[in-house]
Each structure stands twice: as structure tokens, then as C-alpha cells.
Amino acid sequence: MSQTTYHRALEIMSDICIGCSHCMKVCPTEALRVSGGKAKIHVDWCIDCGECYRICPTRAIRVMDDDFKHIFDFKHRVLLVPSVFYAQFDENISKEKIYAIIGELGFTEICAVEQSVDSLLDEENEYLKTAVKPAISSFCPSVIRLIQVRFPSLVDHIMQLLPPIEITAQYYKNKFKREGIPENDLGIFYLTPCIGKIAAIKSPVGGYTSPINGVINMDFFFNKVFLAYKQRIPITQTVKVSREISSKGVLFPTTGGESVHIEGKTLAIDGMANVIDFLEMLENEEIEGMDFLELRACDESCAGGILSHRNRFLMANSMKEYACKMPVTHNLTEDYKKYCSAVIHMEKIEPRSMVKYDRDIEVALKKMEGARELKLLFPGIDCGACGAPSCEALAEDIVKDQADINSCIFLRTLYEKRGEMSLEETIAIMENIWGKDRFIKKK
């Protein structure tokens, strides 16, 4: 499969993958195939939505997060915590307790990712005055990548403002600088609810370099904190907690939490399939008079992020309850405006359209016609027994010399009946796709 310069947020561990093809069936860009009994990712087509990770029954898909030990490379260790993290816990575990444990695990300072939201929302309303309409929120990295790959004509609609995590990180970098702390002593870490954010931080879009030193997997970290809680580990360290956060900030990562503060006609849409449907309409120019779109890849937005374990509706509800206790704005908002408004803008995001057949249109047309003819030969039931997600995908792979027509189990049976293929050959192909050992019954 092809090489890429983009950071890979996911990796399939071949030794654990059982080649069940569940991931292949849920990938919204058809970026997965099974061969040799293992799932393989077409990296250029992957948008880091994590649907494959979510469904994998053997946990064979690894999130490429950073090694936790890496935090101790720094004297000052700041953890930026998204509000969804606290919603992972039962309501009767106090935030103070969670802060103390995070400190005990090694961080010297804790701050809410969404501390920058209040000033960002003002910037967004300002930005919208001159933006291409409808402007699409730049918050969800999977949506940005989806647009780059599948809707390249819409990249101009993506708001050219950084997401809250980057602004809060910039604020911290600047704050430590003002305090005279050497840059090498400061490590900024982000606790992420999704893999899209990992890729976005490691290889950001829009001509930007992130000051974040490492990304920590929320699923992994929740277990670490919860275990410490259950074992009642003694607290010996002190941790500084920056408590400034508003109700707007808490709710920003939930559905509607951003659009509700944007002036004009706005919509909030969550869930990958819903987002794709709407972008199709937008691309067809069927949407009129809309000013702003909050689009989030996950159902219930980040409460449904793939690295959160708790039920997404309960989480969204916890966040609402938490927000009710918080003020409408907080004391650092002016500071954020002062120190961050210069760095909040990013450059235009470039399309990354997936080359389906070929860059040359004449070649592409020939291949496409070939694929259409092939498709007519297949039964059209998208069984996946060929190792491709659909009959159409198999036809495309064949014209690109990445698969063989004999991969189709129905055609193989016909060929066998006609005496054009031996049973041994048929089985050899099956083993090629699904692996040799697969048919040896295990106890």
C-alpha cells in the first residue's frame, strides 16, 4: 500500500488481527482491505475517524499515542484535560480527587482544554463577518480530513481559526515564557478523546506547528486514574490546577455547544453518516442561507469519541450538569484575547483528494469503464468474501492491478463448475485472502 507523509494515528497489529473484516465494512472511505488473513489500511484514504478501532473485536488496532514515560523528560508537566474526561467518571467521584490523582501520576499542572473557548467564540463571530458561507467549524479533525479527502471543493468553507486545544497550548507556552521558564523545561500534554486529534497535532493542517509535546490516550489514562482511585494510592505530590472555565467551555465539545453561540443561521450535525449526507447537499449547492455549520464526526460529538468508554448520552448529560454549576464566562478571557489573538489564525487548508483511478483523466476513464464492466459480472451483494468492502471496490482494485477477478467467491464457483479452475486453486485463493491457518479448527 502506498506511502504517505501524513502521521498515522492508527496501526493494525498483524499478530493480533484475526482478519474478521468488521473494520473493512465500517470504514467511510473504503480504506481497508483484507489479504493474507490480515486487515490492511490504505493510508492516504484514511481520515482517522476511528470507526475501525471502535468495532475491532480483538483490539488489534493500536492508537499511536505517545509513551507516558515521556512526560518525565520535562521539569514542568502540564496536562490539558478536555471536559469529556471528567464525564467518564461516576458523579460521586469528586473532581478534586481526580486532580490529586493526576498530580500523583506525574503532572505538575492541570488546565481545561476549553479554557480558550470564550475568546475563541468571539473570534469566530468576528471571522464570520467576512468568511465564505456557510463556514464550517474547524474543531473536529476527522471532519476536516473528510472534507480534504472526499469534498475537496468545500475546503474554502473550513474556518481558518485554530481549535481550542491549540489556543490553550499556545497560551501556556506564552505564559511560561512570561514567567521566565526555559522552553525546554515545559512539556505540554494533551489528553485526547479521539485519534483524529492525534493526527491533527502530529501533522497539523493550515501551515501550523503545534506546541504540544505529547498526546495521551484518554482510554489508557482513565484506566490509570481509576485504578489509582480504587487502590486509594496515597497522595504525596501537589498539583497546580487552573480552574478557570465557563459553562460555554464545558459544553463546547458536545453537540450544539459551539453553534449555539454563533450569530446567524447555524446548524449542528453529529455522526459521520449525517455529516457526509449534509456535505453532499452542500456540494450540490442545495443549501441556502446558512451561516455556520458545526460538524462533528462522532454521534453526540466528543462524548461519543472513540477513546471514551462511558455511554455517550450519560456523558453528554454529565457535561450539562457540570456546566450548570459553572459561570457563563471566566477571569482569564481577557488574558487569552491579549496573548492569543495573534496566533489564532491558520492558513487555508489544502485539499487531499483521493486518487481513485489515476491522475491522468484518459487513463482514469479507461480504468473506470473497465471497473464498471467488471462490476456487472459480480453478484452485487457486497459480501466481502473477496477481501474488499463491496463488489464495486473489488472492481476498482482489479483495474488498478491490486486484486484479481478470481477473488470473487461466486465467480470462482462458476469457473470451477465450468472446469476452468480446480478445487485446489479455488482453495488456494481463499487462503491467500483469508489466511492459511484460518480453516484449521482451534479448540
Binding site: 475537496p152 471543493s153 453532499e280 456540494e283 450540490n284 449547492e285 442545495e286 485539499p351 483528494s353 486518487v355 481513485k356 483511478y357 491522475r359 483523466i361 484518459e362 482514469a364 476513464l365 473506470m368 469503464e369 464498471r372
Partner: protein
């Protein structure tokens, strides 16, 4: 490559099917996004016109390396005064059609604006054929 789609008069809920299928094809061929946009707008308007004003029709699309040729042939009332129909804002659409959000009288002018070549052949009482060419 040759593609064909049937269109039924009065079936507004399915209007736009052919244009979205052709859009998908052009995207897969990596045709420039602004060109795709022009094709989609022109084709969508022409498709809706069959739905709104004619009884039934067929859309024929031919794609080659240089561009796309679209022919939309319908059985319908035909257009009595083509020059008039081409004017911005002119429409004979019924109130019901307008209430569905169609019939602003901008369809034919929009097609003309987005096409590199555009012609209308029409026989009153028989039907209308549109030829639209857009170059890549």
C-alpha cells in the same frame, strides 16, 4: 464513457439523482472541483425542469478526456417561446411547484451561464431536448 438516467415528471423527491451520480463519477476522475460545480448546477436545473415541466425524460451523458456532453430529451409540452423562457425570472411554474421551492425562473439562464455550449430543440406538444457541453 456513456451514462444514462431516466427521469419521471412530478417526482420532485428523486430530482437530483442523476446530477449526484454524475458528480460522484467526475470526482472519481479527479476533474477540477470548479468544473464539477458547473456541471452539477447546469445538470440539476435541467433535471428539475423535466420533473417540473415535462412528463418524462432521459439524461444521456458522455464523458471523455476533454469534457462532458449532456443531452436531456423529454416528452412534454415543449417550450412555445424559447427567448422568453431564457429570461431571468420568467416561469410558468404553478403555485404548488413554487411552494416546493422550485420555479424561480433562474434554471435556463443558470444552465446557459455554466455551459460552454448550450442549445434547446423543442417542439410544442411533443417535447424538449437540451444539449449542454462543459469542457474540462
Amino acid at each position: 464513457m456513456h451514462l444514462e438516467y431516466n427521469v419521471e415528471g412530478g417526482d420532485f423527491t428523486r430530482a437530483g439523482y442523476a446530477s449526484s451520480q454524475i458528480k460522484k463519477t467526475l470526482k472519481q476522475l479527479n476533474v477540477d472541483a470548479t468544473v464539477i460545480k458547473r456541471v452539477v448546477v447546469a445538470l440539476y436545473e435541467a433535471e428539475v425542469n423535466i420533473v417540473a415541466h415535462a412528463y418524462r425524460g432521459v439524461i444521456y451523458a458522455d464523458i471523455n478526456g476533454a469534457g462532458i456532453q449532456l443531452r436531456l430529451a423529454d416528452e412534454g409540452p415543449g417550450i412555445a417561446d424559447v427567448d422568453m423562457a431564457m429570461k431571468r425570472g420568467f416561469s410558468t411554474a404553478s403555485r404548488e411547484v413554487r411552494e416546493m421551492g422550485f420555479g424561480a425562473g433562474m434554471g435556463l439562464p443558470n444552465i446557459s451561464e455554466n455551459a460552454d455550449n448550450f442549445s434547446i430543440d423543442t417542439i410544442v406538444g411533443k417535447g424538449t431536448t437540451l444539449n449542454i457541453e462543459i469542457k474540462f
